[in-house]
């Protein structure tokens, strides 16, 4: 009985995942390079957003430090790919960056296991602000490149695919990595871990009484989320060719949380919608601002204003985020 259910979940997710990858690869041949670049952005943000969605939505731990964990993944990738000819295959680099960030996640999770609610948020906030500044630290500035960051020599397509333009190659790598992450996370959410995390989120005391190892579960959630963020950061470094503190400011962490809430906390589709919003909303609002020919002060702040307005609207109309709203509509239609 259990194995039958397990098979169907895994099968369903694998099927959806393969269709998604195929669809994106097909799409990439039709779209112009800039759209492919934007979709690559969406792909690596999906990794980080999905991890955050799981952490905050499923296990109930607010983290404002997802951006900093992405930085860890990006810098690990940059250090491994710094020489251009390091010879390490790309999947190994991405995996190593993911594992490295997961280890940092163990530390963060262990430190955060005693904290709840706003105190946890505060601790992760401090982490988000402090970590990128480490690049400037006297002893490390030489290896980490300081404010200027490290340039990444992104490996090109493997032999046999060398005609594929770079933007499509980057989109392919990012999409496959993102879909694998989503499949793994989706399976995790349907598994014993997912149920334990939900129990923890809803009532910690009851969960403890039921025999769930609270601290271990919390740290595990942090590790999973950190691994996702690490992969997202690694893909960011691969796609943009740069790992610099400027890419991982506080605004990234805050925006990730905001769009994950907007999309639907604790759901995979929510993370996807959120990432699309995060990439396309600033572009749309910027083009809107230029078309309306606004003054520079308004132009620079318009994306944030629109963000805030969309956030307020979605929270009022769909408190469970976009995915919550969509589920309600789908249920009504059934």
């Amino acid at each position: 009985m259990t194995s039958h259910r397990l098979n169907s979940t895994l099968l369903r997710h694998l099927l959806l995942g393969s269709i998604a990858v195929a669809a994106v690869l097909l799409l990439s041949t039709v779209l112009d390079p800039y759209r492919n670049l934007q979709l690559t952005n969406v792909a690596y943000l999906v990794c980080a957003a999905a991890g955050l969605s799981l952490l905050t939505g499923l296990s109930g731990q607010i983290s404002l430090g997802q951006g900093a964990l992405m930085a860890v993944g990006a810098y690990l990738t940059a250090l491994m790919l710094a020489d251009g000819d390091s010879g390490i295959p790309l999947p190994v680099v991405l995996l190593a960056a993911t594992i490295g960030t997961a280890l940092v996640g163990v530390l963060v999770g262990a430190a955060a296991a005693r904290l709840r609610g706003p105190y946890l948020a505060g601790a992760t906030l401090a982490f988000a602000i402090g970590l990128p500044a480490l690049a400037d630290y006297r002893g490390l500035a030489a290896t980490l490149g300081g404010q200027n960051g490290l340039v990444v020599f992104s490996p090109g397509p493997p032999p046999g695919f060398t005609d594929v333009p770079f933007d499509r190659w980057q989109l392919a790598v990012s999409t496959i990595a993102a879909v694998i992450t989503l499949i793994l996370l989706a399976n995790l959410m349907h598994s014993r871990f997912g149920r334990s995390w939900r129990a923890l989120r809803d009532d910690e005391v009851a969960a403890q009484l039921a025999g769930l190892p609270v601290a271990r579960l919390q740290v595990t959630a942090f590790v999973v989320s950190a691994a996702c963020a690490g992969l997202g950061g690694a893909l960011l470094a691969f796609a943009t060719g740069l790992a610099a503190p400027g890419a991982f400011g506080l605004s990234l962490s805050l925006q990730l949380l905001a769009v994950v809430v907007l999309g639907g906390l604790g759901t995979i589709p929510g993370a996807v919608y959120g990432s699309f919003l995060l990439v396309f909303l600033p572009t749309w609002s910027a083009s809107l601002a230029t078309r309306l020919d606004l003054s520079r002060d308004v132009y620079a702040n318009l994306p944030l204003a629109i963000y805030g307005a969309v956030l307020v609207f979605v929270m009022l109309v769909f408190p469970a985020g976009l995915q919550g709203g969509i589920s309600r509509l789908v249920n009504k239609m059934r």
Binding site: L15, L37, G241, A247
Partner: protein, 446 residues
């Protein structure tokens, strides 16, 4: 039940993919191509009536004071040229985007300019830490990357970066000329270096070291552009009891340096390299920073006596009134930028724009990316700069020399003739050529 659920999910996913593809087909503008397959050359960004060029500037953020005016100034000059018939019947469409001096943002906006805006060339991308992150990609994408607004020597590598060209004097040459001047005028004095911790500062310091005796340099302090707290560096300079502080800084940090010396009660001779010493920008920043700190200062008094270097005609003081280039640029400024203040950044933007118009003219009636570069490599460009450009087939370096100036009563007054030098260990020699006059109508003569 499970199978039908699997099937339903599959159908839903396929439907979504189909919708997305349909939307994309309808939405993508122009698709790929755009002139890249012509046998004559790559004319992406060129139409029958316009040439589209792009750039990135720090319009917001730490480096915005001063530098954010360069883009609008260049645009104003292009508008002036467009209103006078354009170049070979084409108007120049200049698109510039904000990168906030943040290299991560520069990568994004440059890709946007090349892939979405499909510009013909990048003209005047600003910043050493910022542009170094996009120069490899631009060369890989075969996009002309002209007149980088930075003096890093990295733009003068024709074998490694064939599409990239400098414009202003590089920091190494500048350092050499400043170094020779200081070695002569301040022999035996204690000298401190204060510089930005990247290629900008380090190139300048390398130039200084060519002429300044190692024993004279009492301390070398670097700063990161992200961090405005330079207290530790200033303390080190004060403790070393330096008589002279030579700085390779952006304007915000030149101002912080000056205010810092006041706070510590020391008064070394300040020598600030060109990019951080524009009198109008600097005095404005000094007043603004002091006000933030709760005190009132008079900017013009604080910049008195600062030594710097220049390669464009002075736009302040009695000399400015009789200079044909300043008259031209002020005329353009009056017409298109009347609401802003004319300063060194305005002059810089317009001078760069003038040089680009010259090159575009020489690129021929049907410019391609290749003909643009060929026109540059042919050399022989003349303009408002006091010393000549170094463009040739083997050199992509811009202006080859500077003139030492000292700010006296708010006006940079030259101290000696301009000097030129090479990009290696050659000597600094005075330049004796005569300056070129601006064309009467402001359009470069063909």
């Amino acid at each position: 039940m499970t199978e039908s659920r699997v099937l339903r999910s599959a159908v839903a996913a396929l439907a979504a993919a189909a919708v997305l593809t349909a939307a994309a087909c309808g939405g993508s503008e122009g698709g790929s191509g755009g002139g890249a397959d012509q046998s004559a050359g790559d004319s992406t960004g060129v139409t029958a009536t316009s040439v589209k060029i792009g750039s990135h500037y720090p319009l917001t953020g730490r480096a915005a004071p001063g530098y954010s005016k360069i883009g609008p100034a260049a645009k104003a000059f292009f508008d002036y040229v467009n209103d006078n018939g354009g170049v070979n019947g084409r108007k120049i469409d200049f698109v510039y985007r904000d990168d906030a001096y943040n290299p991560a943002q520069t990568v994004q906006v440059v890709r946007q300019l090349v892939l979405q805006d499909k510009v013909f060339a990048l003209v005047g991308g600003l910043g050493t830490p910022t542009h170094t992150k996009v120069v490899d990609w631009l060369n890989q994408s075969k996009v002309p990357d002209l007149f980088v607004a930075s003096g890093c020597q990295c733009w003068d590598q024709p074998d490694k970066h064939p599409y990239t060209y400098g414009w202003q004097p590089d920091y190494y040459r500048e350092g050499k000329i400043l170094g020779k001047y200081l070695a002569e005028k301040f022999a035996g004095k204690k000298i401190a270096y204060f510089f930005q911790n990247d290629d900008f500062g380090k190139d300048g310091v390398r130039g200084l070291d060519q002429f300044i005796d190692k024993n004279q340099v009492v301390t070398r302090q670097a700063y990161q552009p992200g961090n405005t707290d330079i207290g530790p560096q200033l303390t080190a300079i004060a403790q070393a009891k330096a008589d002279v502080v030579v700085s390779f800084t952006i304007p915000a940090y030149s101002a912080l340096l000056k205010l810092g010396t006041l706070k510590l009660g020391i008064a070394p001779q300040l020598v600030i390299s060109n990019v951080g010493s524009d009198p109008v920008t600097l005095s404005g920043l000094l007043e603004a920073f002091a006000k933030q700190g709760g005190s009132e200062v008079k900017g013009s008094q604080l910049i008195e006596g600062i030594i710097s270097d220049a390669y464009l005609p002075a736009y302040l003081g009695p000399e400015a009134a009789s200079n044909s280039w300043v008259a031209l640029f002020k005329k353009v400024h009056e017409k298109y930028l009347a609401k802003t203040v004319f300063d060194g950044n305005t002059e810089y933007g317009m001078a760069q724009a003038y040089t680009f118009v010259q090159v575009l003219q020489r690129a021929g009636k049907n410019p391609t990316r290749e003909s643009l570069l060929k026109a540059l490599d042919a050399g022989g460009l003349t303009g408002p700069t006091t010393t000549p450009f170094g463009f040739s087939a083997d050199s992509h370096s811009g202006v080859t020399g500077v003139q030492i100036v000292k700010i006296t009563k708010g006006v940079p007054v030259p101290d000696g003739p301009p000097s030129t030098t090479d990009a290696a260990t050659g000597a600094v020699t005075p330049f004796t050529g005569t300056p070129v006059e601006a064309p009467a109508n402001g359009i470069p003569p063909v």
